[in-house]
Symmetry: C2
Subunit: 580 residues, 2 copies
């Protein structure tokens, strides 16, 4: 298997800068496949495919921060390369509507300001992205539906969408064909033989690509460590119904809001047991609305109970479907677990059903949430108790099936940490692909292909950009922070000392700022911020919020808003709460 | 099942303060079982057993901090109750030598200064604790061996040690018998029918306690969520040998240093395959030494390779046994994964074998460590690949066996978060114990038993105490921080801004302090600390340390040391590193 070092040793042919539009070297025009995210990590998928100097971008995803990235709300790919090559971008193609594939689009559009390229995706993807762009108040973006089986021409590329199965409807692989051959970027996929919508992945077209001779396969590695075959999504429904049938009181189900087929199966199970359904959490209501409009989900008339009716509705007649399956700090379920949700107070007799598993890294947040739910007296049912979740990513046998269907000359595994990329590479070896033709890439490292062969080229700029402050309603002024350019608006660090007993401030908050421009009355501002910190803490205390991470979240939002009002700028706000 | 609220509603008979030595109420002398740690959490186990005003303490454990407890090294139980009742403590009994059962002993001894009660434990436990007390320079502590099957009298209690199986040799349940009956505190246990040392748990004595009529069972709940029976420790060895046999290059095995039987099995597997063994990590070498002296582990002459010989030893002839199975920040394996270990440089062909699973909460650290190892080119083998780890805690069928053997009148599950306490309570119901006789306790909530019955009493003070700074060699001056009394030495918050490229300081560090007494030349000190921060970062940069958590660790240690030199005090040091 070719690692990044091997590629460098073999002497890259020179990147864009030395290559003059990709025509250098002895093998004629060059195809470059440059991942700017999603390799060596889970999330922020973004791949640049380039031929003869013209570019198609596949997916523009984001990542959620790790716990040690204090004060950060989102993590984006570094867009430097896209900014510098903005005029060469023929199209952006979106495989499906998950945040790790489309979430950074509003931010990249701002970087390419004035002249966005056409953006393509399936109908549901387009609807979800349009809603997101509206929130960001981005108008007149050329967003077009490109359904499975259809294709368009984008510069030197024919771009074709191929139907795949995943944990969101309307997921596609993208085949990009240029003179040199076809590159297949699978997006996230599984081979679900019995999907909820009845339309399995287009294995026939994949096989055809294989017969025609696929040049390069860039495949999803998320489950490269799991042997066998993933559970079919449609097998989850009967198990949910069985689990619900054993519950006497109220049922709260949590799952990913975008898994519209899962929501459908929850609704079906509730219907079968004579229960009604309430949707809790903003993204849950939004996605179900979009899904209903596009016919992906069918909720019978009179089935839905309003959020404000939940408290008065008979427990044994209700299923609440909630966001928060990953223990996210401000999610509906986390707030329920902390006794902090206005409409759902968990109690003895309630059953909380996790129709999801923790994404790696979220285990602690999920376990804490579960333990708090137990502490409130409710019961918790997880995938350890019944098969009530199916992964959206194919397991090892499915990845091998993909390799055998498409018979690629070259393979570059994508969407995975270093471990999964390596294991995916081994699966390719297992099905007989030559080790020299398997490339273990890194973000920023372009794979360059000519008629003569393939090797890694010169490293391009890649990395992380942080986003601070994404409150809805305030999104136009969201701060985009490239940490290498932090100087723009600077940073405020707010250190609050609170009482363990009642969460109130017990010492003057410390305010540190750095690189914040246009400060006139510094002392006055610091005093005002101190007051704002005390107010924020008092407000949290009034609402019985005692969890440090929640306090920090609230503090961050309150201070960021306050500073913005005062300065009309958005420095990064880093909250540190010390409990005494 | 009796929850804490139920107990309070039924009107506790009044705690110690109202009870005048435990003789109040209508039922004669009262037995109180007061957990000060280990309930609603995993770790810092400490139980106070009290009859007729006299106390035996079972276990004095600690916990490791969660990632959001910045600047904290250890978490201890709140000792207020023990301090106030110091004169009534007849004995401290230690079930086994794990940190979550004995780790807080040096700290509690300092609280009971001058007059420590006698301390009892098995021979290995005593040897390990003695080594720990030596490090803390605690002399003349009355530490006595009490082997399995033996008993002593401690005030009104007969205290008997009963042999159990666990992931450390020399683990015991403790039976405390007073006039009112017998309380059994199981400690951590499993029923291993084929333990490595050939001596299974003393089921015969447990059954005898049951026939005599056990009053109260306080049992380990750690695996109350796992159905079936735990794997026998002796089944791990053959799988390790099989896994080693498939490795061509160097093998690095990581496991808990105290699991001496596991180390024995690694040594046996290495011997069988003609490999030698090197021990890496301070606690690994220490525990193996103690284990050898007491005959728990047998390492043939000439089998050990010194740490400094590792680099020059043939890879295919070596097994390195290392600490760091939990991805601990400064552990040997974590340093290897970051290319930062002086003697072991991981590379292609190496195999790292995790003979351990992540303790809940450590998943992210372990997964990060694994991914970095893959990135260095080495291979990783975990329990997902082969059964190379056995839990030290019994599964559901074993907990039920314990309940059926001992036939307790009352049950109070221990050692578990809220979820596991509840599930353990359900297992007790499953074997026919009346729901009213099962008590779901909390730290600080005493269960009070008289001839007439059992109920929760008035809440006592319980909580967390934080320890900051436990570097070896410096341990006498370790700072013990009760966050409710932070005022003693105060707190320094150090905010450093470093370059993402090279980890060097790129802006003046910010120093915040609060409640630090005896500050004369404040500005001079702050300047000096700033310099010390820059030095620390430059030093880390020279060693190519770029991981934020490691930078913070080093920064913490360097600044804590510097501040101590200057002030002869140990304020808490909270490092915040911002990468730009």
């Amino acid at each position: 298997m070719n690692g990044p070092k091997g590629g460098n040793r073999s002497g890259g042919r020179g990147g864009r800068k030395g290559g003059g539009g990709g025509r250098s070297g002895g093998g004629g025009p060059r195809l470059r496949v440059l991942p700017l995210g999603g390799l060596g990590e889970i999330g922020k998928n973004l791949t640049v495919v380039e031929y003869d100097g013209r570019i198609v971008v596949v997916d523009v995803g984001l990542r959620f921060p790790t716990p040690d990235q204090l004060g950060i709300d989102l993590v984006l790919p570094d867009f430097t390369y896209l900014r510098e090559r903005a005029e060469d971008i023929e199209a952006i193609v979106l495989t499906h509507g998950h945040e790790d594939h489309v979430g950074a689009l509003p931010f990249v559009l701002r970087e390419l300001d004035g002249n966005p390229p056409p953006i393509y995706g399936g109908p549901l993807t387009v609807a979800m992205v349009r809603s997101k762009l509206d929130e960001h108040r981005l108008k007149n973006v050329p967003l077009d539906e490109l359904a499975a089986g259809n294709d368009i021409q984008a510069g030197p590329f024919n771009v074709e969408m191929i139907k795949m199965a995943h944990s969101i409807p309307d997921a596609h692989a993208v085949a990009l064909t240029c003179d040199l051959g076809t590159t297949l970027i699978t997006g996230d996929y599984k081979f679900d033989q019995t999907p909820v919508d009845g339309i399995p992945a287009d294995v026939s077209r994949l096989a055809e690509l294989g017969r025609e001779g696929l040049l390069l396969l860039c495949g999803d590695s998320t489950n490269a460590d799991r042997p066998g075959v993933s559970l079919s999504e449609s097998k989850v429904g009967p198990h949910l119904e069985e689990v619900f049938g054993r519950c006497d009181g109220r049922i709260v189900v949590t799952s990913f809001a975008s898994n519209i087929h899962r929501v459908q199966q929850v609704v079906d199970a509730a219907t079968a047991l004579g229960r009604k359904v309430a949707l809790v959490g903003r993204s849950m209501r939004k996605n179900v609305n979009i899904g209903r409009q596009l016919g992906h989900i069918d909720i019978p008339e009179g089935m839905l109970v309003g959020v404000k009716e939940i408290q008065d509705f008979p427990d044994e007649k209700l299923v609440v479907i909630s966001t928060g399956s990953q223990g996210e700090p401000l999610s509906a379920l986390r707030r329920m677990a902390h006794g902090d949700h206005p409409n759902v107070k968990l109690h003895d007799g309630d059953s909380v059903v996790f129709s999801a598993t923790p994404i790696p890294g979220n285990e602690r947040a999920v376990n804490e949430t579960i333990d708090r739910i137990y502490h409130l007296g409710a019961d918790v049912i997880t995938t350890a108790d019944a098969p009530i979740h199916a992964s959206g990513h194919g397991y090892q046998e499915e990845l091998k099936l993909m390799l055998n269907l498409t018979k690629p000359r070259y393979v570059m595994p994508m969407h995975g940490d270093h471990k999964r990329l390596r294991l995916h590479g081994r699966l390719a070896e297992d099905v007989g692909i030559e080790s020299d033709n398997i490339f273990r890439g890194e973000n920023g490292l372009p794979l360059e292909l000519t008629k003569k062969g393939a090797s890694f080229g010169k490293r391009e700029q890649a990395g992380m950009v942080f986003v601070d402050g994404v409150d809805v309603g305030d999104i136009e002024d969201v701060a985009l922070r490239d940490r290498r350019m932090l100087s723009a608006d600077g940073i405020f660090i707010v250190v609050a000392t609170v009482s363990e007993q009642d969460g109130r401030s017990v010492a003057d908050p410390e305010i540190i700022f750095r690189g914040v421009p246009f400060l006139d009355d510094v002392e006055g501002l610091v005093d005002e911020i101190r007051d704002a910190v005390d107010d924020s803490l008092a407000h949290s205390a009034d609402e019985n919020i005692s969890e440090i991470s929640l306090l920090q979240d609230h503090l961050h939002d309150d201070i960021a808003e306050f500073v913005y009002k005062k300065l009309k700028r958005r420095p990064m706000v880093l909250p540190v709460v010390v409990e005494v």
